[in-house]
Symmetry: D2
Subunit: 411 residues, 4 copies
């Protein structure tokens, strides 16, 4: 049973966070679509608002009217059941409505949702709740898409003129290995809290013995892989990965310069800190690195087993850094936050998985093909968005997310 | 010998016209790049300013400094001799500098050019003059690119909220044919006025006898071609044109709706007026239409022979309509303005053509391959930009320019 | 410990089968490469011979010499560790050596391998053994590639002029469901017989309760899906599958005609028999069909659990039909043979998987990305090639293999 | 009025020449389609036969029957008016009919055409005559396509095992320039002999004064261009040419090796002879070379004016060399034969051009877009196929024809 008051607070908090993350962006910044996989920031602001208008207000608000019926087309992402959609690769063409009008729309929708919320029934409250988690996903996408957009200019500008919180300096904690015995474990979401349908149902799985690295792979370690000819040794790579690396002329992670001495981030070009976790690598690169290191990527069940019961603590968007930070301490570090951790598991439905009813059934299920699972969250993720059962997923060639590597080994 | 005072006035007038044409655009509108062939309006504003900074101020202004050296890269269009260039298809990524900063840059450059102009020598004055004609070309491109950008949204918005001057109503003048005898004529630019290098040198050519239509082909006439199965009859088309029409699923001019009843323009979607000249057709379509009509396109020499000695009068951007108007009167009509007229001539150098010296030699000559010549100017062209010897050119598949058809026939 | 005599017999038998399957092909037939994923039959004949020359004769034959050193390049498929390779999509360019010369090469290699075999040590015997299983894979590929090649001509010719063995007529057995309880099972290869590295190591997995259909989905059942708008209902499809179906204009299985009344096979165009298993569907189509049918695809562990301990019986290439046959009887039917069965499992390494040493380590491991597993074998597979632990794999869009559907359901 | 006896002799001679040129090819060689622009040799043999079957026998032979109606589809090249066509890029899939059957078809058609010819009327005789000239075009294409096909294998095989006639050794004649005054000249075909429609009608043109080089550009001269950084200097190139050279990684003519020391030809890889004409360059390269050399390409009218009245003498396919030869003597050399000479003229219709009636009207006219004219013929052309008014044409990027450079200069 959803607590209406808590949901109202959460709604307001999440929506305000989106506005804050987009605040540094000019109307021009918010227009850029740098590739078909990315969306303009303005579109993220509008689409997340469309979500509440489409799935909460339209069905539940008395006398509901759209600001413009055509916005249903412009800001529908991929819901075939809702109707036609503006072509995804052409989102950058949408100069109208302007950013100010989208912001005003956000405000109006917020007022209406908050006014309506106390009277909503269960299904509607579920939709509001889902909308807030949906919006948190777009918060991260907004940031990764903006970073990618800004990287496309020779100016390599910073995301904001205001100073961002500094990451701690110093070296990374030494790498240690934690051993796990074979066990039948319960995986997937448990309890009353929110979870996406793809985290359900809770199910039993046999997880063999394995060892898990105590922290993320660092820039320094990845630099050693590069310097050892990592990008020139076919034997380290999956065949598709090798083809992607060759055709894309990859010589290092996405945002590294040719010398491997600077990297582009939300502060613009910055010296590469060897102590920080490597970020913006594809699954292919993560896999090749692991093979080079005599290790492998953890599977989803292994990762989840290690994360179960741990507090969601780490370096999230909440820190205001918008950058990674070095591993500290002796135990298992960085399981949450800093960078998403590529697993060796394909994104597939859990046993007896059932998607949501109606159009929202398209939320996750139809994407369970051709993608790999990432776990743990990043420095661009809101802390309250994450949990041990959370499944993120991207195609194995994707590099513009804050994606990195944690190693595993057979026991 | 260039008159400095006249040039100053012209400089100010041309630059102000650009600003006026861009005035209705929001920062968002000015960002859109709808295809690699088109550029964002902001980029046009910046590039035309870069032209004066690069070719006038940098070499001639004492103590010249660039606002940002990297802008040389961002706003260089295609001058290999100047240095590296931001990738053309990625101009839509340039959110920085913002529109306001580009506008401020334009103002500063204007003040400096106008201050410097009285002391400039001949070559520098030539560069200023060239820059103004260059800017007039970009005025038209800015408009055609904005139209294309706005057409990419389901909102089909108008270019401006202000009312545009109305086009005259009424039917088109009847079509008549004017005959020309065989003659050796002098073609290309003559006299002291400005001309692009591609209009030179003046040279003799033998032009056989021909007949030329007294006005442009109308929407109504083109609609008859469509209704007669024009897009389904291979025998009417060049092989490349047929392939382009099939692969692009062309069923009519670029901006016509499926029913052929409305067309998109600077006023948004408007009813198609059968009396107005057909616009936004490719060379392939113009050629197929002409074959269907038992006629052909005029050649460059034919067109120029017919246009020589005539006043540059017609429907230009100066009318404030930003739309075509119907042919009026009994004589040869619409030779200038309304729509660019596809010729049957490939864009090639005139005999003894010599490009300009230095980087500006890349202005025209290197594009003399794979394109067809258009003549006469359009309702988006400034009147003072046009003349009988003027050669416009686009690839035969291009449709986003204001391009139409005038028929010719063998005598 | 490999039995040399048995291996000699197997070697001779397998090689002869390849020759027999290729016997109906003219030099022209054997040249065709219909798409980058397919290879000419002559190339299959040469590559399988190269395998023994490269991995058996070259390292073990005293005074070994290549017929032409450049053939190492021409007929190396994908072994980076062996050296450069002729480009895969350009295999159809290799008119030299001609088919006769390739056949002669096969004979010479066969004589030399059989002569050498009694003196070979363990590793070399392993390579010979692997080569025979490798060749059996190419026997099936040769057939599927020839079928695809022949389908590309308006003549739609049969593979051979000789009559093929007839498939039994009559309707398919009724569909029943077999239930399986949750169990921890041992999966992967067991025992002394040959297995590919990707079937190892034997490992424990927890398999939840499920039900499995007693036979394959038929053409008639698939036709009902098509007639019910299966290819027009986005809600039934994975997002990637929907995109593939739309971009490929799929309206039915690969070789069906538009009316769904005939299908192309090794006999040319033949009436579609509703009792036969549907074949030549992609994973996307298999998945959409299953969803439409209120079922799902089985997972690898589910399929293997059902198949363990069963005799490898069914309709294989050995029947000489080169076509599917209807399910018969009451029990679990068609688990082996007829069509490969798409599973819902991505092709990934088993826990503690280790690829073979050296260049042969590229055999399977590097392809464990972006593909789905198929199980059971087809009417193009040699019976002796198959076993319950056998893992076949293709990208989810692939349709030219003899791939079909068996349904599963949650218990 | 066509002389039936002469045409019979010519028919037999041309058809026999095709057979002789194809004689060295195995069934495998005759299957290869190396790119969409090229066709398999077997297809050339069949298509030229189809031409007579379609345009002579079918309309004129009493009780005509096709060997297989579907061959009308398989071997129709591009005649929309005839009906559907097998897809051009898929000609390499046509293993059936086999080469032997195509050869047998050729023989049967030859017998029937020769039997029918004495009774044919004017239009049919015109079709036979056109068919022989059509076949001569395909003789050259057969050779260029075979060369391209063989170049795609690491074996770099020779076209034939028999020795080809040797090219004379020795250095090229010195380069001289011949001057021409301005004149009004008659261009296009004159007289009673055969000409393609694109050479008509004869028409007057004013040709300005110019100078023409006395021989072709040599490998040695082109090598100097390469060594002078010709492929790295954008200022020498047309913009489209520069883009093609960069995207295609061009570093020299098509068949040169990286060192510029060997080139692939009908004898396989051979040392590059600096005295021989450079061949297998695109229009873009010819144009860039000319600019580097301080010259330009001749226009069509210039070339034709220089060639008018000269005997068609030179190095043709008749020499049996299938290779170029050095320029000899003092006067204007190599105007005919050796290599096709790129002109600076786009392929466009002559004034008052009318294509042939009916389906044959598609022969030339519909290709008058996007191509450049070449003149003079090559060492792959039959002598009797050429004349001063002959217009060959290819896209400016095409390199697989035997295309080279003759320089011109302004007077």
């Amino acid at each position: 049973m959803i607590d209406r008051e808590a949901l109202s607070l959460r709604y307001a908090r999440v929506r305000a966070r989106t506005d804050a993350l987009a605040a540094p962006l000019s109307p021009e910044d918010a227009m850029v679509q740098s590739m078909p996989d990315a969306s303009p920031a303005k579109w993220h602001l509008a689409h997340t608002t469309w979500f509440f208008e489409e799935f909460v207000l339209a069905p539940h608000e008395p006398g509901h009217r759209w600001p413009d019926e055509r916005w249903r087309v412009l800001f529908n992402s991929y819901y075939e059941a809702v109707g036609p959609r503006h072509a995804r690769p052409a989102r950058g063409l949408l100069s109208r409505p302007p950013l100010d009008e989208v912001r005003a729309w956000r405000s109006r929708v917020d007022a209406r949702v908050l006014e309506l919320l106390p009277s909503l029934g269960g299904a509607a409250l579920e939709a509001v709740s889902l909308g807030t988690h949906h919006e948190e996903q777009h918060q991260e996408l907004l940031l990764t898409d903006v970073q990618h957009a800004l990287s496309g200019s020779e100016l390599r500008p910073a995301y904001t003129d205001r100073p961002l919180a500094a990451s701690p300096a110093g070296s990374a904690a030494p790498l240690a290995w934690t051993s796990f015995d074979e066990a039948v474990v319960d995986l997937g979401h448990a309890g009353d809290g929110f979870a996406f349908d793809n985290e359900t149902p809770r199910h039993r799985a046999l997880v063999g013995p394995f060892r898990l690295a105590s922290r993320l792979v660092t820039n320094g370690e990845y630099r050693a892989f590069v310097d050892d000819g990592g990008y020139d040794r076919a034997e380290l790579w999956l065949a598709d990965g090798w083809a992607a690396a060759k055709s894309g002329a990859w010589r290092g992670p996405l945002y590294w310069d040719d010398a491997g001495e600077h990297a582009f981030g939300m502060r613009g070009m910055q010296p590469l800190d060897p102590a920080l976790p490597v970020a913006h690598v594809s699954h292919y690169e993560a896999d090749a690195f692991a093979r080079w290191a005599g290790a492998r990527l953890p599977t989803e069940p292994e990762w989840e087993r290690a994360a179960q019961g741990r507090a969601v603590e780490g370096n999230f968007v909440d820190s205001g850094r918008l950058a990674t930070s070095p591993a500290r301490g002796e135990g298992m570090a960085q399981l949450f936050g800093d960078v998403w951790e590529w697993t060796g598991s394909a994104y597939l439905p859990y046993p007896r998985f059932r998607p949501l009813e109606g159009a929202l059934g398209e939320y996750n299920g139809k994407f369970m093909s051709g993608q790999m699972v990432l776990r743990g969250g990043s420095c661009f993720s809101p802390r309250e968005h994450l949990r041990a059962s959370y499944r993120n997923f991207f195609p194995p060639h994707a590099r513009w997310q804050v994606s990195g590597v944690r190693l595993a080994r057979d026991a």
